[in-house]
Amino acid sequence: MKKIMLGNEAVARGLYEAGVRFVSSYPGTPSTEISEFAAKYDEIYAEWAPNEKVALEASIGASFGGGRAFSAMKHVGLNVAADPLFITAYTGVGGGLVIGVADDPGMHSSQNEQDSRHYAIGAKLPMIEPADAAECKEFTKLAYTLSEQFDTPFILRLTTRVSHSGSAVELEERQEREILEYTKDPAKHVMMPGNAKRRHPVVEQRLADLAEYAYDSPLNRVEMGGTAVGVITAGNCYNYAKEVYGTNASYLKLGLIHPLSEKQIREFADSVDSVVVIEELDGVIESFCRSLGIQVTGKDVLPLCGEYSQELLREKLLGEEPCTVSVADEIPMRPPVLCPGCPHRGVFYTLKKMGLMVSGDIGCYTLGAVAPLGAMDTTLCMGASISALHGFNKVRGEEAKSVAVIGDSTFMHSGMTGLVNIIYNGGASTVVILDNRITGMTGHQQNPLTGLTLKNQPAPYICLEDICAGLGVDRAHIRVVDPAKPAELEGVLKEELAADVPSVVICRRPCALLKGVEKKPALQVDQEKCRSCKACMKIGCPCISMAAGEDGVIKAKVDASMCVGCGLCQEMCPFDAFTSTGSK
């Protein structure tokens, strides 16, 4: 039976069919749905871990324990998990272990465009890359066989276009597998110098064995067509290349992208007149070819930045331009915005109003950086808001004029250690935790603070206030505020900024998109009362605009189809012009 599946769904199907027992991940676009789909199979234990390092370590433990295991993460998540990643290359596996990492060329939803293939090279681990959903399933299954055969974790590299593109997948039965017998093996599993010194040559030999395997692996294939151009490519770039050259070119389509087979690449290069290497982001395959002395066209004409497409290849390789029509008007951008009713809106309005330096973090609330809120000074990576603020204040001594802003899930991911650093080293910074009771940006995943697991089972209640107190914040300086009341928030912030001790202000209100969050009737503008002062425009609500009323005068207007009646505009309006429509 065939079914149209997203790449991520097909990876999950591959896990199921390969008899995988254990999945531990942290959400991150575009990898999130792999674990969500995996969780739908009763046969697979699947969980959200607080961060990617914990997730991968849990999977390594499951593998040691004899079960097939998997962790998924986005490319920057692999930075967090890099520590266990490099070491597990030395230990090898018990049950098969696959680590799914989804890169985001084009940065559809990421803060950088790093190429995860460098991790495979750096950690000396094999990496496979599928080109479509059918390969997502097939490669995932094969990776488990190879993981056990070569005693190594495999990295499954995806990109946004493969993760989020759907095509037909053939469904097969699950191969149930017994848990392997556990034998204590410290020489292999205890990585201290004496043991690791003996494991390193094993890693090198394994890599050589895998390069030999690559030569006739079903993961790689040669498709001969016209021989004027030979394309070496992998992943979705293969699809773009096929679209452009069809059968006029020959292809070496790589599925095992690390290690590469020198013999295979030399033979292919010898069979064609010229070689083009087509790969998004860095010139990894290209560098390998050049190291062999093979002349190739690659990053000399193709970009290092952004996502590829058939149009880009046609333009750069064939000099062809598309035939297009367009209107003469300038089309305004439509950037993402905080949703109507978003509890973060009132926080950023208040922070901007108070003129604070805001050390930001990763989540929906990063949108607090854009106009008209424009309240965020810095954003780097998960957890950096708190740690970076500490350094900023140690240098500048501006504890009274600066805050860190971090989401609930991000705080659990890697904010706690930053807070410990502030307390341990005598800082007095103020940390604002935006507790919207969910992991929002990636599409509503549970986290350790929500009381539910990935499988929607009840989880023990973990109290954010208790965590902060336990880390050493004085309970008198752990404040909980409703961000829908900006005046109250401002008062609390003033007190805590003035205090000469570390403080935490928890802004607690559930995400407006969560099921069960009450939507109030839409608001409307009393045309008599509105004085066109635009105070309501400062909060960047997508429902409010200035438009000509019945009398032709420009006044505030609410789009009732979007408004959820959160009332923040009522807090802004000095003339009480916003009233309830009483319907919805």
């Binding site: 939803s109 029509v325 008209p372 605009s545």
Partner: protein, 194 residues
């Protein structure tokens, strides 16, 4: 046949994912190979979103580029204008007439261009512009505007109307089936009357 390229464009949260699944189901029912490409994450937060559906004997790339789309289904007028360069010469643009101001317009940093449907028509583009939300509203729920849009394009999407209708039936949640089928039928009839 050559690969058929359909783009669905709109504003995050308008239901373009369901629309792409309906088209994918119709293509599968007709025995075609199909690829659907969507983008999740940041763009969902009220940003500009685009979904690609390609079907035919064999499909390589999952994306559609400038000058390649046979049909663009647009949920919103500004988005129709934004993605217009992706339409191939002789392609058809089907757009809802709804206008949603983006944040640069809301804060007064940019203007929402006037008379976009007319301007696109003047370029010689085949355009079908209708109030899809009103049709859906009349059918029982404005949220069925995505299915109404498919109904408006039923004659150019490359499927028999019955195949499309069955795909709608198969893809929408059971409790919304009746309203969505009504929206589809009304939109298809609306187009025939034009």
């Amino acid at each position: 046949m050559t690969t058929k390229n359909i783009m669905i464009v709109g504003v995050g949260g308008q239901g373009s994912l369901l629309a792409s699944r309906i088209l994918g189901a119709a293509a599968t029912a007709d025995g075609y190979a199909v690829k659907i490409s969507e983008v999740h994450g940041m763009s969902q937060r009220g940003g500009s979103v685009v979904t690609y559906v390609r079907y035919g004997k064999a499909v390589s790339s999952p994306v559609i580029c400038q000058g390649e789309a046979d049909v663009i289904l647009s949920f919103e007028l500004l988005e129709a204008a934004r993605w217009l360069p992706f339409l191939r010469p002789g392609g058809t643009l089907i757009t809802a007439t709804q206008e949603i101001n983006p944040m640069p317009v809301i804060i007064g940093a940019a203007q929402y261009p006037a008379d976009l449907a007319e301007k696109i028509r003047e370029l010689g583009v085949q355009i079908i512009a209708a109030d899809a939300a009103a049709i859906a509203e009349e059918a029982g729920n404005g949220r069925a505007a995505n299915v109404a849009l498919i109904g408006l394009g039923a004659h150019v999407l490359g499927f028999d109307t019955e195949v499309l209708r069955s795909a709608v039936e198969a893809c929408v949640p059971a409790k919304a089936k009746e309203i969505n089928l009504r929206a589809f039928d009304m939109a298809a009839a609306h187009q025939k009357d034009q």
